[in-house]
């Protein structure tokens, strides 16, 4: 199938650090505990998929790499998380929109990255967007491939973030 498939835009993220969490074979999900720890460290979750139970339960969680040391320090004090969390490579998130719930669009996206040999570590839809997690070093290439395979409005190119929002508790 090579017919045109329209999208309105693409965004690419700054680098994110991947945390892989393997939960307990006895069906205990450690994801809430990881989220509690990240909150204590004031670490935002840029992307997360958490599903399954038992030995196949795995969570992919992406955070700001600059906060790695604090997260490592806190996890070191939590034996369960220390045994369950693996720090992965630096990834990037590619978000295209809208997906319209389209099965052919999902297929086109997966095929585009797969045939280019670009790893797809994770994928998730939101209300209107579809986000892909790949190696950060191949993020620009992934965006370029998507641009080639989809119809975008003229003069639209992948958006890169120019600032970040960081949440701080206001002193009253």
């Amino acid at each position: 199938m090579t017919d045109a498939m329209a999208i309105s835009g693409i965004k690419i993220s700054p680098p994110v650090l991947a945390l892989q969490l393997r939960s307990d074979p006895a069906t205990r999900d450690w994801t809430p505990r990881l989220c509690r720890l990240l909150t204590a460290a004031r670490v935002n979750i840029a992307f997360m998929t958490a599903a399954g139970a038992g030995s196949r339960a795995r969570t992919l969680c992406c955070i700001d790499p600059e906060q790695r040391n604090e997260v490592v320090r806190l996890i070191a004090h939590d034996p369960q998380l220390h045994a369950s969390v693996t720090f992965g490579n630096t990834m990037g998130l590619l978000t295209l929109y809208p997906h319209r719930g389209s099965i052919p669009l999902l297929g086109r996206v997966v095929q585009t990255l797969h045939e280019a040999g670009i790893p797809l570590h994770g994928l998730a839809s939101s209300i209107a967007a579809l986000t892909l997690a790949t190696d950060y070093e191949r993020l620009e290439e992934a965006a370029s491939r998507i641009v080639d395979r989809f119809d975008l409005p003229r003069n639209v190119s992948p958006l890169k973030p120019t600032f970040t929002v960081r949440q701080q508790k206001r002193a009253h």
Binding site: C35, R36, R42, S102, P104, S126, A128, F163, Q167
Partner: protein
Amino acid sequence: METIAVYWEPIIRTYGFQFREGLVWHALRLPLDRVDDWSRGLQGLADPAATFQLTWARLDPEASMTMSLVCEPVHWNRIRPIWIGNTACDGGGAAPETMVDLVWFHGPHFGDRYGIMDFTYQVLHRGQVPLLAAICSVASIYLVLPAGQGAATRMLLAGAFEIPTAVNGPRQGASPVQG
């Protein structure tokens, strides 16, 4: 990258909670050498009305991907033949369908702010809500729940988060272009 804004709410605000009951969740384990055929097959779906509510995937250590799809049963009947296809062979796996409810919500700068998923987990824990999957992407949080749990969970969450009246009134259910 320079930080130029800060954001804090004592009670986390959302644009309201939406939910859908009686959906089908299917998780498919797909060997990487079958991804190309499978993804080409999806593009052949002739019925554009057969859409997904939620999809997510992860790369597994065993050289496979687990692809998940949540959709209306009537759509699943049309999607199923190409979604499952012949992937159940060669080490793939097609789990049985699970009936689920879906609750989703988004809020200002969700995706840029810490603590929102943690707060959500605390509310669900207090309400003893079993959670099958949680997906955080862009500014949206999706919760996949056992069938029959969606309405009560939405009420539970709505009581814990702040929903501004401007959102909770006539515009409830409205969604921005991205979320």
